[in-house]
């Protein structure tokens, strides 16, 4: 990804995540939320917030963040309940795009560009 594409992806993600109203309707059906004794950053809502604050520069790509994002099973149960689905917010797809964004810094042999 060149700088322009990276900027575009980041601003697109921010815009999409902006649709999330933090209603948290999606957390209970998430398998990883259920299986970690209900830790909110292992829920779709949590992952979107983490992604947002990562792009904003408030968070860095450390172990907790990577664990949160990459433990998403992409199963799509969250999309069914999302209150923002009227705005076409596809939670699981955004989390996957978050993985795309992070892959910049994680795949070796690339000019590691910090998010």
């Amino acid at each position: 990804m060149d700088i322009k594409e990276s900027q575009a992806l980041r601003s697109n993600l921010l815009q999409e995540i902006g649709k999330c109203r933090a209603c948290r309707f999606c957390i209970d059906v998430c398998p990883s939320y259920q299986s970690t004794e209900w830790v909110e950053n292992m829920s779709p809502y949590g992952r979107l917030q983490i992604l947002k604050y990562l792009i904003n520069g408030a968070l860095d790509e450390g172990d907790p963040l990577i664990y949160s994002l990459y433990s998403c099973l992409q199963c799509g149960r969250c999309d069914r309940l999302c209150k923002a689905k009227g705005q076409n917010l596809e939670v699981s797809k955004l989390i996957r795009l978050g993985k795309y964004l992070l892959s910049q810094g994680l795949v070796k042999g690339k000019k590691s560009e910090k998010v």
Partner: protein, 470 residues
């Protein structure tokens, strides 16, 4: 505040176990964020999120917090609509999510639930015993029983039909802000009379203690009949509500409406034909089948007073579910087109119409935005006016989001004051504090401050909410 994070982590780890203390920033951010549309600030982000599993751990935690003078903010679902959930100052977030046990005792006539259980899960458990949970938040998928009882909200429910959650609470186990674990109330289905401390903790908004066990009377599942009524204008619905109280008719358990605009959006969202004007949806209840049918027939006859275009009992459950869902979907689909800023006005019943008109004027004349659109839908029969200012764009700054939220809050609370009401759903602290002071005066507010100090001398629990910090 000077806090040594690694020492804090170690100390907290000794109390709840290492794996249940999280001090990484991603976790802190996720727990601090609430439903308010503006961003988190540094002061909102906690040092640590702690996840205890029982009252003993919470007791040790609060004793520690008092010793070190570190504030503790209680986290149930984080879905408060007046800003109760966001920590107002750096501290520790106490997440109740691991406390999810529930036990139903049909032979004792009650059930006991730990605070972290989501409402929908409580309902599921109670349904096995043919019992109803007497509270109806729209956020039931995630709202916790602890939070709902701590705010004492009936949400969708019309209070005059059934009551508020507190009316069904028999007793608590509470951890006081200073760390003592106490039991209140009774194990009988006859609630205590007199100065029973259970009452102090119902609706205490996390200021006076941490609820760790909630005992509620089992309410048998009633029979329901569902009614839908179509009107030319919202005014007709409001007239009907006012007349209902005037004539002393027992209100339906749910009495919802969609105004002309919301009805179009909501019905389109669920695939129904566009209604001519406003729509009202009611659910009547009785503990006898004949009773509920009779009640519904009588209510149907009564509805004529508002000149509906059509009013009927909906027999088919699928048809009813679709109509009922249009209310939730109206909100969701409005967000597709822009942003909404809400309010909760519960005026004196005979002033409902005037209050509604005033709410419309507020939205049209917002200082921070020109010509916002007025939309309303919700529990008009409660009576509650949810007046929304709809802005047809999402592209507004963080500061403007905050300013609009607070302007709607303040001006709509002025209507509560003007018309003798007080919100009935969302609690009285955090964003509501200026209303609290204005409506009841400084001496009542000072009384609350003294009461808080008596329970919580070091201001540990939910610091900032009673002060009205944002």
């Amino acid at each position: 505040m000077d806090v040594n994070i690694s020492k804090l982590t170690k100390d907290l780890g000794k109390i709840v176990g290492k794996e249940h203390v999280r001090t990484d920033k991603p976790t802190s951010v996720v727990y601090a964020k609430d439903t308010m549309p503006w961003d988190l600030e540094e002061k909102n982000i906690p040092y640590a999120v702690v996840r205890p599993s029982n009252s003993q751990e919470i007791s040790k935690l609060l004793k520690y917090a008092n010793e070190k003078l570190i504030p503790v903010h209680i986290h149930g679902s984080g879905t408060s609509l007046v800003g109760l959930a966001r920590p107002k100052t750096e501290g520790i977030v106490l997440d109740t999510a691991r406390m999810k046990k529930i036990r139903v005792y049909p032979e004792r006539g009650y059930f006991e639930a730990e605070p972290g259980l989501h409402i929908v899960q409580v309902k599921k458990e109670l349904a096995k015993y043919n019992a109803m949970l007497p509270l109806f938040p729209g956020s039931e998928l995630v709202a916790t029983i602890g939070g709902t009882v701590a705010v004492n909200t009936s949400a969708h429910g019309v209070d005059a039909a059934l009551g508020k959650p507190g009316d069904f609470v028999l007793g608590f186990e509470v951890v006081l802000p200073t760390g003592e674990v106490i039991q209140t109330g009774t194990e009988s289905t006859r609630r205590a009379a007199g100065i029973d401390p259970t009452k102090f903790f119902v609706g205490s908004e996390g200021l006076l203690g941490v609820l760790t066990l909630i005992r509620m009377r089992l309410v048998p599942l009633p029979y329901f009949e569902n009614i839908v009524a179509y009107y030319k204008t919202t005014e007709d619905i409001i007239d009907t509500v006012m007349e209902m109280y005037k004539q002393g008719i027992h209100p339906p358990l749910f009495y919802e409406f969609l105004d002309e605009r919301a009805a179009k959006i909501g019905f389109e969202a669920v695939g129904l034909e566009e209604p001519i004007g406003a729509v009202a949806m009611m659910r009547v209840h009785s503990w006898s089948k004949l009773g509920s049918e009779d009640k519904a027939q009588n209510f149907l006859k009564f509805l004529h007073v508002g000149n509906p275009i059509e009013a009927k009992i909906v027999e088919d459950i699928d048809e009813w579910n679709t109509i009922w869902t249009s209310r939730a979907e109206a909100g969701n689909y409005m967000y597709r087109l822009g942003m909404t800023f809400g309010s909760e006005i519960s005026p004196r019943v005979d002033k409902l119409k005037e209050a509604f008109h005033d709410a419309q004027l507020i939205v049209k004349n917002l200082k921070n935005y020109n010509n916002a659109e007025f939309i309303s839908f919700g529990h008009i029969g409660a009576p509650t006016i949810h007046a929304y200012a709809f802005i047809p764009t999402k592209d507004i700054s963080n500061d403007l989001k905050k300013a609009l939220t607070l302007e709607m809050r303040e001006k709509s609370e002025d209507l509560n004051i003007k018309y003798g009401g007080c919100g009935g759903e969302w609690g009285l602290t955090a964003q509501r504090v200026s209303f609290l002071k204005k409506k009841y005066g400084e001496s009542l507010y000072e009384l609350l401050v003294r009461m808080k100090k008596a329970f919580d001398p070091n201001d540990i629990l939910n610091r900032g909410n009673l002060q009205g910090w944002i």
